[in-house]
Amino acid sequence: MSVVIGKRESIRTRAVQCAFIAAALLFLFFFLGIPLVSVFYEALHEGLRAYGSALVTADARSAIFLTLLVAGIAVPLNLVFGIAAAWLIARFDFHGKSLLLTLIDLPFSVSPVISGLIYVLIFGMQGLLGPWLFDHDIQIIFAVPGLVLATIFVTFPFVARELIPVMQQIGSEEEEAALLLGASGLQTFLRVTLPNIKWGLLYGVILCNARAMGEFGAVSVVSGHIRGKTNTMPLHVEILYNEYNFAAAFAMASVLTLLALATLVAKSLVEWKFADARGGSVRYVATMEKKIS
């Protein structure tokens, strides 16, 4: 700083700094630190054996499997959509572009309960298609397809929202160059576009996956809470907790927490990697995503 600061003032400044840092850390400690630690404490305080056995019950295993299945379907579908939407929005100028952007963002601003409700209103027994589905013996609500639909809805914008700013920032010159050099559209996409957006893509997938595995409200509406059948891990946590089986509930919760922590680590790694590849300008892109998630 070009302004000379007197000694007394610099001591005072340092004191103010320390007070601010302390206040901020104290706030984060109470609202993030303690809850985080308590999950593992509650999960483990009845011993490792209880912890382990809570995770291998048939219901627990089916919940884990179902969570993986749902995320395994929802994430790739949203990935394909994200690439298509980002290509469309970042590479072309067309009428209705900002409307499209707003619509893509929509699922972020809708309550999770409504995200589930809309599918119940269509596919539920009293829903618009309910009687027809019943006649044809197709079950969507209170079954896996409903869980997948609700999960796709709530994680809908992640990949697209991450890719759009990345692709806009990169620009289309490299793609034009590839086409001029004789590459086909597909070759251009696979050899030029994809390598350029891979970190942004990975970033979007990580966030999309975390939400897909952890979603509670939307899937809660469409699941019907049938044990061993339509319970994902977060729903299983709820059931165990409401049965006062706290240790088991927290054991399952701790697995989800580890997943969240792994997500944060992966996200940070990609952010750094990304910053290297893009000369540090990614922070803005990354935060854009956070703003809307």
Partner: protein, 350 residues
């Protein structure tokens, strides 16, 4: 291959970027599209390449309409202003790209590709950098990689968008000379865009001066420099003094009393700074008297800034010898004569 543009027009929304442009580029010619930003020169280049489509008009390659041809069929070598190198590929892979993406039947073998790429790297003197990534290269090196990448596919036309725009002054000079040399060797029909008149005059066989979406003048560097056909071209190609004057008996009068008379025909007179003679004594034949306001003698020439009696600033360039012979100093009274001037009676509002 020759290129012919017929009545090319292009609008971006309300903005008319090109207004019915006609141009012919002969085979093997090196043409510069010269103009200020917004003059439509880059748009014209992108239309030639097929990166933009014209709203009206046609682009003919060897007399054949190109509008139905895909980019692949056009075989255009294009060098982007910021090079557009593939940032995740090495220099080698960048240059090899155009060969590798060919349909299998036409694709050269790996050995042939390697051979071709190394030859090009040699041509641009970058043999040692083939394994570097674009981010590890200097601006001038990137430029040369971009050029070899474009040449690797043996294009029939080479198009360059501000090829030296993003480079340091001294690198620019080298590359300019090098591009000229390269063109003399390969004789590829080439068009490049620039806003730098010195660059255009030095490198090109023919200079096309553009302004506000139209071609003002096209000709050899000598033609456009010595015989500009409009005030715009005159001003754009080098330093110039502009005098407001009036016509008397079909001749422009240049001088300090040159206030416009009511009803007299308006004209403007252009004089290049190095075409003004300066004397310390009046012999009655001079055009105007002025006072020396500033002298800059650093450099190969001496630049004088004169102020006429009615407050017009006039730039004069003298050789060091002329300056020393005159022996003038700041605030001295001098008398100036224009050796050559160009008069435009038309609208000169630029």
């Amino acid at each position: 291959m020759n290129i012919e543009l017929k009545n090319i027009s292009k609008n971006f929304g309300q903005f008319a970027a090109l207004k019915s442009v006609n141009l012919k580029v002969d085979g093997g010619e090196l043409v510069a599209l010269l103009g200020p930003s917004g003059s439509g020169k880059t748009t014209l280049l992108r239309i030639i390449a097929g990166l933009e489509t014209a709203d009206a008009g046609s682009v003919l390659y060897n007399g054949e309409d190109s509008s139905t041809k895909s980019l692949r069929e056009r075989r255009v070598g294009f060098v982007f202003q910021h090079y557009a190198l593939f940032r995740h590929m090495t220099v080698f892979e960048n240059i090899a790209f155009g060969l590798r993406v060919r349909p299998r039947a036409q694709r050269p073998s790996n050995a042939e590709i390697e051979d071709r790429v190394m030859k090009l790297l040699k041509l641009v003197q970058l043999e040692n950098l083939s394994h570097r990534y674009p981010s590890q290269l200097s601006g001038g090196q990137r430029q040369r990689v971009a050029l070899s990448r474009a040449l690797a596919v043996e294009p029939s036309v080479l198009l360059l968008d501000e090829p030296f725009g993003a480079l340091d002054a001294h690198v620019r000079k080298d590359l300019r000379r090098w591009l000229r040399k390269l063109h003399d060797e390969v004789h590829l029909t080439s068009v490049f865009v620039t806003h730098d008149q010195e660059e255009a005059l030095e490198v090109a066989d023919r200079v096309v001066v553009m302004n506000e979406g139209v071609i003002e003048q096209a000709g050899t560097p000598e033609e456009v420099y010595h015989h500009p056909n409009s005030p715009f071209v005159f001003r754009f190609l080098g330093d110039v003094n502009l005098f407001h004057s009036r016509m008397e008996d079909g001749k422009a009068r240049l001088g300090p009393n040159g206030h416009l008379k009511e009803g007299s025909e308006e004209s403007c007179v252009f004089v290049r700074p190095h075409l003004i003679d300066v004397k310390t004594q009046s012999d009655g034949s001079e055009h105007f008297a002025a006072r020396v306001r500033h002298i800059n003698a650093a450099g190969p020439n001496v630049k004088l800034e004169l102020m006429t009696a009615n407050g017009e600033a006039v730039d004069v360039t003298l050789t060091q010898e002329q300056y020393r012979a005159l022996g003038i100093a700041k605030n001295d009274q001098v008398f100036a004569t224009a050796r050559e001037m160009k008069v435009f009676v038309e609208d000169y509002s630029i």
